[in-house]
Symmetry: C2
């Protein structure tokens, strides 16, 4: 019995398969046929978990897979693995797909609803040697396996000397990979062309990350523009050149961020924003289309603080997008309201978090603001393990509305950013935040939670600025 | 040179001394004289830290003192230690104080602004034997020293048998003291007359606490109404009787909660609420008075969810009240908007948190609601140390507004309640909460944070209820 309608999904990771699963929950196979195409070997896996797999805290690749192809098929999803969609025919309501195994034949598949979930690809600047063996990105499970292969070769082959890793880029992936390689015993050098590591933070907060990383024995070189990867006689990477200096490397990891993978969608004429990410409405429909949806790392999302759309590649958003798309295709109603720019990461025991806008982003958005920083402990000062964190807060001039919060500190620092994330979503002022009723007990917080200490200072700065 | 005005503070702990310090920050000694009376030996200490001092994680009593009498005096506060205020003459604008050391003479002191910060006292039901040596409350540093004295005597005197402690009351103090005594090697029995421990949670969540405490080797006896403390030949506590059973005890700790200490204020005719706590306006002025203020454990606060005032004894509120009072007396403007009922605690590695209303409190407030519970891990499931927590959520029928959240789980569970606390303050619906942009990375959270998993279930329950 043919189903009344057909949903076609391009890309079998978080957004695509969440959409498929959610739609299936709402509509049975007689009402909705669901076909999903995935060009790789894996579905629904955690790319964000790869650094922890490489570093050894996660045992195996399979731990990172939330749901296997078989599990999806058991739920009535017609999943076509190792099959790449090569064309979207918008007017014809069909996609052309090619099997990557077997004879490589191509076939058209019609759709009533199309979900574009093609993800993102790591940035790989066109430098000499960048494609040499031993240079690795860490975006897919295949990337992870290749990197582990290189590390295995290096580790079995090397003599008594300490092995060296160069990480290019000091963003989230860069610092997480620096941790992973340190845990594996590598001498790690991180190169970044910016003034400080973690350009998702203001430079003054990034400097704290640099200090902590150096304290962990890593070398952090900023203002370093990588110009080439040098190779040995066998064509394998053996050093990275940046400016005047050359950094020897047994392995090179690229952590330069990712860009939306939208060539297929752009060829089909679907609209993209400045970053190249697809533009959607709040229900995650591609703008200007009624039956084409997009979500996950291939879209731009609305930043509720700056009022602009931007590209934010995060598994948590991808899952939510999928949920929204699946609900809508399944006959329900859901919208994704946007993001406030929250991110959290760690490098060894240093926790790094942000939400809202940085100073530079605030200026770009036309916002005027005051900034404060506050140092406070995450537990009562007398409680064992109480460690200091720094909280930076931006508040709008005049209104005192919270605009952004950055936190760098040790255990318990990172997730405190959630308080600011909810406050941003609700449009609270820093004055309103002072008296937030946050959980207090000595093992969890001082009587003034660090976020409230910062809010108090920010509110004073707003009042001061009004008087001037 | 006499100051233009005089501020008198009754009670030298968190609320009183925060008020004094904040007022001093805003007004110099020539503008404002500040006299503070404290009947005990300590100022500005953390009563909440006492269980951790008893348990040995905090080394010494002095670690719990945020600011000594000397430090306050250096900041220009005329602090009179071991001096008890015995009368407030509201019409005369003066208080009568009596030195507890020396000749015990009494003296009147006039005030332009009076701050009542007399705190709370532990509940001590009038049972036979309750005042015997070896029965201890844990509210003041003096209480803590007395308890440590008893424990020292027991520990040096006892033979090979394991020492036994009975804790009466299974609320915050009770479970924290159960942990402390377990850490000291005692065999611990906790008695409570309620159906489950932690009546600040719904019974189904309290049951999780009971299971965990039993798993830690504690005995938890509920439905146990204590009728007497039995004493030995020397008049020392040796057992606790509840119903038909008698529980041998080398030491007895009372954790029955506290009541506002307002006899002085009531004798002066100041208005109190149902709990006996003073009633104030939003600026923390005692209702009906322009020059009398009150804050900390001796007041009732507005519960923003139930719309009622209630007594919530917590150091974090006391500090904020003091801050507000000091700002207002110092010529500024501040208000304490109220609480949403957040509390967090732990017993060994079990974290317990709540915010908003319980089912019973919601009913009492006239609210109709749906409830859901969700189990989820605090980190990505594959990440080392990922442990499950249970989140219970109440949402208003019809509107879907969040009404309350309770969390019981291991590491990382407790402070997650802050997300719900901010959402409650902002009046968010559970539907709005689903897409909150919370910090995500595998060491910090799964892609769906446990609070969002609960919000998703709650939103579905609200929609379902609307259809019925």
């Amino acid at each position: 019995m043919a189903a009344a309608r057909r949903m076609v999904v391009v890309g079998g990771d978080a957004a695509g398969m969440s959409a498929a699963s959610q739609a299936r929950r709402l509509k049975g196979p007689d009402e909705l046929e669901i076909i999903a195409f995935e060009r790789g070997d894996f579905t629904s896996y955690s790319a964000c978990g790869i650094p922890y797999w490489i570093g050894g805290s996660v045992d195996s690749r399979d731990d990172l897979i939330a749901r296997t192809p078989e599990a999806h098929r058991e739920r009535g999803i017609d999943l076509r693995m190792r099959t790449e969609v090569t064309r979207i025919d918008v007017d014809g309501g069909r996609v052309l797909a090619r099997g990557l195994s077997g004879d490589g034949g191509e076939e058209w598949t019609g759709f009533d609803e199309l979900v574009v979930a093609t993800g993102a690809a790591p940035l790989r600047p066109p430098l000499p040697g960048i494609d040499a063996p031993g240079v690795h990105a860490v975006q897919t499970l295949e990337d992870g396996e290749a990197l582990l292969g290189t590390l295995g070769g290096v580790e079995s082959g090397s003599g008594g000397e300490r092995r060296r890793a160069v990480v290019v880029g000091a963003g989230y992936i860069g610092v997480e990979m620096a941790e992973a390689l340190t845990l594996r015993g590598y001498e790690v050098t991180v190169l970044d062309q910016a003034e400080q590591p973690m350009t998702t933070l203001d430079p003054d907060m990034g400097a704290l990350v640099r200090d902590a990383m150096c304290g962990m024995g890593m070398e952090v070189v900023t203002g370093a523009e990588v110009t080439a990867v040098e190779t040995d006689g066998k064509g394998r990477a053996r050093a990275v050149t940046a400016g005047e200096r050359t950094y020897p490397a047994d392995v090179v990891v690229l952590g330069l961020g990712v860009a939306p993978e939208t060539s297929l969608a752009r060829e089909a004429g679907l609209p993209v924003g400045e970053s190249g990410g697809l533009l959607t409405d709040l229900a995650m429909r591609v703008r200007g289309h009624t039956d084409i949806w997009a979500g996950g790392d291939c879209v731009e999302v609305l930043d509720l603080v700056s009022g602009r759309t931007r590209h934010v590649a995060l598994g948590t958003h991808a899952n939510k997008h999928g949920q929204v798309i699946g609900a809508n295709i399944g006959g329900g109603y859901a919208t994704f309201p946007g993001v406030v720019g929250t991110a959290v990461s760690k490098v060894c025991d240093l926790e790094i978090a942000r939400t809202g806008v940085l100073e530079s982003q605030a200026r770009e958005a036309g916002l005027q603001f005051v900034t404060v920083t506050a140092d406070a402990t995450g537990r009562a000062g007398y409680f064992p393990g109480a460690e200091s964190m720094r909280v930076k807060m931006l508040a709008e001039r005049g209104t005192g509305r919270l605009l952004g919060t950055q936190i760098v500190g040790r255990t318990g620092a990172g997730k405190r950013v959630d308080v600011a994330a909810v406050a941003l979503t609700a449009g609270l002022t820093v004055e309103q935040m002072i008296y937030l009723d946050l959980g207090y007990a000595p093992p969890f917080s001082p009587v003034w939670d660090p976020v409230l200490v910062a809010a108090r200072k920010a509110a004073a700065a707003v009042r001061q600025e009004r008087r001037e």
